[in-house]
């Protein structure tokens, strides 16, 4: 390097050069942003779109109102509306911070240390946890929603069965007749905690379980506004019990009830969202059919589903490997490893576009042309 070149290397860039460089960098960032593939999250069972605008308006109105005043702890108006909808007396309904809170409270109320909580497996990961928190023992019953297996697993220590219907993550659903058979055969000391968080996605018999309440005092049904209503942020759900279950329902209710925005939002959702719910249910049903049909050409096994999820088993791959490959294509799915099943993944159904993208990612991941 010559003498002059040595000193010239210490010349800084001019403002114009720096500006040009910054402009070029900004342009590059814009190009990358446009070329970036948005991730498609099919790993959650909550609805992917924003809630109904009238629900948002009602919640906003409530939030801008008298938040200094404690809300009605019994959520009387909301329970009345739920009672009208389901044909159940409001006294047999309790509102809580989502179905999960009510389920956990019910487990605390029913289980004692040393008791057993049966649950078909794989299923919702909360059930074993809520048993552990009460000192009870969770007993998974493998083999899906099978009444015979469940009854065979009942012991004198069994106090409750947690049944997710339709089941998360498999989408399998026990029909009303099978439920009745299960309830009829259950011993006196066993209650059935029926988690119907995904029941709104079912095409038929959505209130079949509620019709069983009158004849089965040990049945508790749990529903939520978090899934098809798209109100997971409100944390609102409810439980319905049989005649005579009022005392138990009061025990599982949250202390001082749920917040005013949650009450108002849930009420407005019940009054305004029927059309939207029907659309979402129809969309999910159509995508279930589309995905099942398209899976014939792929090395994947899938069982029929009555929920917004499908439980897929790839041939020659573990669920975690398939989830990783799909993630590389920008599609997030839930590996079954979280519920102890290494062979499956759970995918959530959203829309035609999402299904098309999922199928494209599946073809890439499985090496199918």
């Amino acid at each position: 390097m010559g003498l002059l070149d040595y000193y010239r290397q210490f010349a800084g860039m001019s403002d114009e050069e720096i500006s040009a460089q910054l402009r070029e960098q900004a342009e590059e960032r814009r190009r990358r942003a446009l070329a970036r593939i948005e991730q498609l999250d099919l790993s959650r069972t909550t609805w992917h779109e924003l809630p109904h605008p009238e629900v948002v308006n009602a919640v906003t109105y409530a939030a801008r109102g008298a938040l200094n005043v404690a809300p009605d702890p019994t959520a009387e108006e909301l329970r009345r509306e739920l009672g009208r909808r389901h044909g159940v007396e409001p006294e047999r309904i309790v509102v809580g911070h989502g179905a999960a809170q009510l389920l956990a409270s019910a487990a605390r109320a029913l289980l004692e240390p040393g008791d057993e909580l049966l649950t078909p497996w794989p299923s919702y990961g909360l059930y074993p946890l809520m048993a552990q928190r009460t000192g009870a023992r969770a007993v998974p019953v493998p083999g899906g929603l099978d009444v015979e297996r469940l009854l065979a697993a009942v012991t004198p220590r069994t106090r409750a069965i947690a049944l997710c219907n339709p089941n998360d993550p498999t989408g399998e659903r026990l029909p009303g007749a099978a439920l009745r058979a299960l309830l009829d055969a259950l011993p006196e000391h066993v209650s059935l905690l029926l988690d119907e968080a995904l029941v709104d996605f079912a095409t038929a018999e959505r209130d079949a379980a509620l019709a069983l309440l009158d004849d089965h005092p040990r049945l508790l049904a749990f529903r939520t506004f978090s899934k098809i209503y798209g109100l997971a942020g409100l944390r609102a759900g409810y439980a319905l019990g049989a005649p005579g279950a009022e005392e138990l329902l009061v025990r599982i209710a949250p202390e001082l009830g749920v917040g005013l925005p949650a009450q108002i939002g849930a009420l407005m959702a019940l009054r305004r969202c029927d059309g939207q719910l029907a659309q979402r249910r129809a969309a999910v049903a159509a995508e279930r059919e589309r995905l099942l049909g398209a899976l014939h050409e792929l090395p994947l096994d899938a069982a029929p589903s009555e929920a917004n999820v499908m439980w897929l088993r790839p041939a020659g791959l573990t669920g975690a490997e398939l989830a990783l490959r799909l993630q590389r294509s920008g599609v997030l799915v839930q590996s079954g490893a979280g519920v102890g099943d290494e062979h499956h993944v759970r995918v959530t159904l959203q829309s035609e576009r999402a299904t098309e993208r999922l199928l494209e990612a599946l073809r890439t991941a499985l090496g199918v042309a």
Partner: protein, 162 residues
Amino acid sequence: MRTDPSDTGGLFITRRPGTRPVQYRTAPRVGDAGRQRMDGLVAAALLAGMVVVNLCFWGPLPLACLFLGGRTQYLTGSIFAGLTVAFATMIAGLLLGLMALKRLDYAWILVRRAAGHDQRQGVIGKIFMICCMIGVPIFSVWFLFFSGASLAGVDVQGLLGG
């Protein structure tokens, strides 16, 4: 991005104007300690050169211009021609001197950076100001009392009792 405090509620957003670090096209290869000491000396020499050029504005350059103007008047017999040459050479000398100063200042910045200093701005303004503070009084004293020039209607020597 708006960075002007009048646009941002009186707050400087990101860096204050004029305070950004030097940005190089490629990271320069800095010499060893001996080379940096040498560069420090070169920078000092350049600074001295700038001082000399600046001081020339207040002594040698006017004298040379007056000499040239006087020679022109003597050769042409025209006062106008003498004055024109004197002013023209003065202006040309100033411009050339300032151009040289600017180049010296730029070279000084580079050599200072080579010597290991975070030199962001030149020193031309300070040098010029200091040289003015030194040169103007000296030139004024010389011009009024020693050059033999006299202002029209003003007897400087008389004012001083000479």
